[in-house]
């Protein structure tokens, strides 16, 4: 073992990095970007689920419980009409609403109270805080009104989507199906297109009668074939083996996945223009994939993000794809839903932009 020889290797390595500014930037800038984003996302988010309260109680108890709920830190409440509740769940402005029925106070006299709890149900993480806040509010309200009485609480819970068996995997599964396909197709495309460049065959293609659009389209179709097979595999595994909840049309899920795969292929071709080596291509993963992963609503719903980040989420293709997949799988959306039309339309729009971008930048790096 020679210290000098080891030192030679160490020194050479550092010399190489001195010339590779991009790798250095990635090494030192990317962690700050990613951690900063994550911190802002979590600290800056309005995390308390929005709950609507409809108090129809003719007695005093409903108002007391509603007041207790309003002071609860786990949820943020608004007063609504019970007839508006379902619409507000559907448009996403409420995670749940609670109705205190007209005979609520008299129920309490009889020893058993049954508030109606209507849950949106697609986000399992919001259910527990709502039920817990209700529980605490009832206990404090009842103990102040009728101390010492034994009282049974039997909330009647109904779910707009999903159901009691709907778990976290059901919520994340829908989004991850899209993410997995997007990520893998992107990596495979960017590396193989870069190979085409580095092995010199791209120069040959450009010196042939092939037009740039033909190259991009040919690539797109080739990888789409692979991506679609992968999409089928992922979908079958998710639905049949993992038994991820699905209330929608399987063909529609597949269609959204296919759109994502095509978007990923074109993003890969486009970004391969900005990488000289496979090493640099791999560096696009933390820059392109991680922020999309954090901001697309997979982990944190977009509506709970701080406002500036919501704007950023709004320009990322994955946001729309994730939303579309959840609409279909969790909420059973079909193409007549305006929100799904928007999601599919935006992803398709991204594809058109990326195809044009990929074709126009193709020449730049060969000449």
């Amino acid at each position: 073992m020679s210290g000098k020889r080891v030192a030679a290797i160490t020194k050479r390595l550092l010399q190489q990095f001195r010339r590779d500014r991009r790798t250095l930037a990635l090494l030192f800038v990317a962690p700050i970007v990613i951690l900063g984003l994550l911190g802002y996302l979590i600290r800056g988010s309005a995390s308390a689920p929005a709950v609507g309260i409809a108090n129809e109680d003719q007695g005093p108890l409903g108002a007391t419980v509603a007041a207790a709920l309003a002071h609860s830190s786990g949820i943020s409440t608004t007063t609504i009409q019970s007839s508006d509740g379902d619409a507000k769940l559907k448009d996403g402005s409420l995670a749940a609403y609670i109705v205190f029925p007209p005979d609520f106070s008299s129920q309490a006299q009889a020893g058993t109270i049954a508030p109606d709890v209507h849950l949106e149900g697609s986000q399992p993480g919001t259910i527990a805080p709502v039920l817990q806040a209700l529980q605490e509010a009832l206990i404090s309200a009842v103990s102040s009104q009728a101390p010492g009485q034994g009282l049974h609480v039997q909330p009647r819970i109904s779910y707009l989507y999903g159901g009691p068996g709907f778990d976290t995997l059901d919520y994340f599964g829908a989004a991850f199906i899209g993410l997995v396909v997007f990520f893998l197709v992107f990596v495979v495309t960017i590396v193989s297109f870069l190979n085409e460049r580095s092995q010199g065959t791209l120069e040959r293609l450009m010196a042939s009668p092939l037009r740039r659009g033909e190259i991009v389209l040919g690539y797109m179709l080739g990888f789409t074939v692979l991506a679609l097979i992968q999409a089928v595999e992922v979908l079958v595994f998710a639905l049949a083996v993992l038994k991820v909840h699905n209330s929608g049309n399987v063909a529609l899920i597949f269609g959204i996945e296919a759109l994502m795969a095509i978007a990923a292929v074109n993003l890969g071709i486009f970004l391969s223009m900005f990488a000289r080596t496979e090493f640099q291509a791999v560096q696009f993963i933390p820059l392109v994939i991680v922020p999309q992963f954090l901001l697309s609503g997979i982990l944190f719903s977009v509506s709970s993000e701080p406002k500036p980040l919501q704007l950023l989420s709004g320009v990322l293709p994955l946001t729309y794809a994730v939303n579309g997949l959840r609409d279909v799988m969790v909420r059973g959306a079909d193409l007549s839903w305006g929100s799904l039309q928007l999601d599919v339309g935006v992803v398709a729009g991204f594809i058109v932009v990326l195809v044009i971008a990929a074709a126009t930048t193709l020449r730049r790096r060969i000449a």
Partner: protein, 237 residues
């Protein structure tokens, strides 16, 4: 009259940043001629060849290939281009590579003839990543000529090819030229230069001198092309 020129380069200049890759080059190559581009590394040979296929656009001057002003994608199916490094798909077999390049030039036939020309027909099922450097070079040549182009551009085609096969390939080039194919070769190898009908010496992006090998030898007053080349280069450097 311009129809008789396979390649017509008129006062072409090209800069890459501060570097003058080509500086006022005028050069014409006849149909059916074998024209050799000679010059040291970095003299501008490859830049010139890449202009013939429209990969590089000149800053000044015009390039006309087979009667068409370049760049012109449509006429590229009549041009074969063999790049300096053997640009092939390592995961495909020998035959699959040639078939691909035939297909993108709009033909299907000629695969067998091209592989026989470079003596790789017996190895047609081999995957490229298993081939030696010389074999890859030959396969790259087969890919450049499979569609029977009217103009064949060869950037140092016989690097790594053994002397015996080199002679056979040159006999093949001669046959193609006799049948009307124009061939432009860049090379360092002087015995290859001897086999060209005309030579152009390029140095620092300028066309230093042009003529048959015999003319160039006598102009420099040297017995061999190699010495003539060195003395002409030094007199201008």
């Amino acid at each position: 009259m311009s129809d008789s020129w396979a390649v017509d380069v008129e006062d072409v200049s090209k800069n890459f940043g501060d570097v003058k890759a080509l500086d006022g080059v005028t050069l014409r190559v006849r149909q059916g001629e074998i024209y050799g581009l000679l010059g040291p590394n970095g003299s501008g040979k490859t830049t010139l060849i890449r202009m013939f296929v429209g990969l590089v656009a000149p800053n000044a001057g015009t390039v006309t290939v087979l009667g068409q002003r370049m760049p012109n994608v449509a006429m590229l199916s009549h041009v074969g281009y063999m790049t300096q490094a053997a640009a092939l798909y390592p995961g495909l077999s020998v035959e699959e590579n040639v078939r691909f390049f035939a297909a993108i030039n709009g033909t299907e036939g000629g695969v067998k003839a091209a592989l026989e020309f470079v003596k790789l027909y017996d190895r047609r099922a081999s995957v490229v990543s298993t081939l030696s450097g010389g074999m890859r070079q030959r396969l790259s040549l087969a890919c450049a000529l499979v569609h029977k182009p009217q103009l064949l551009l060869l950037d140092e085609p016989t690097v790594g090819v053994d002397p015996q096969l080199r002679v056979e390939l040159w006999d093949g080039f001669k046959e193609m030229a006799d049948a009307g194919t124009t061939i432009i070769v860049s090379s360092h190898v002087m015995d290859e230069a001897e086999r060209c009908q005309r030579l152009g010496l390029i140095l620092f992006g300028k066309l230093l001198t042009e003529g048959t090998p015999g003319e160039i030898r006598s102009r420099a007053g040297r017995p061999t092309l190699e010495e003539a080349f060195l003395s002409l280069s030094q007199s201008r450097a």
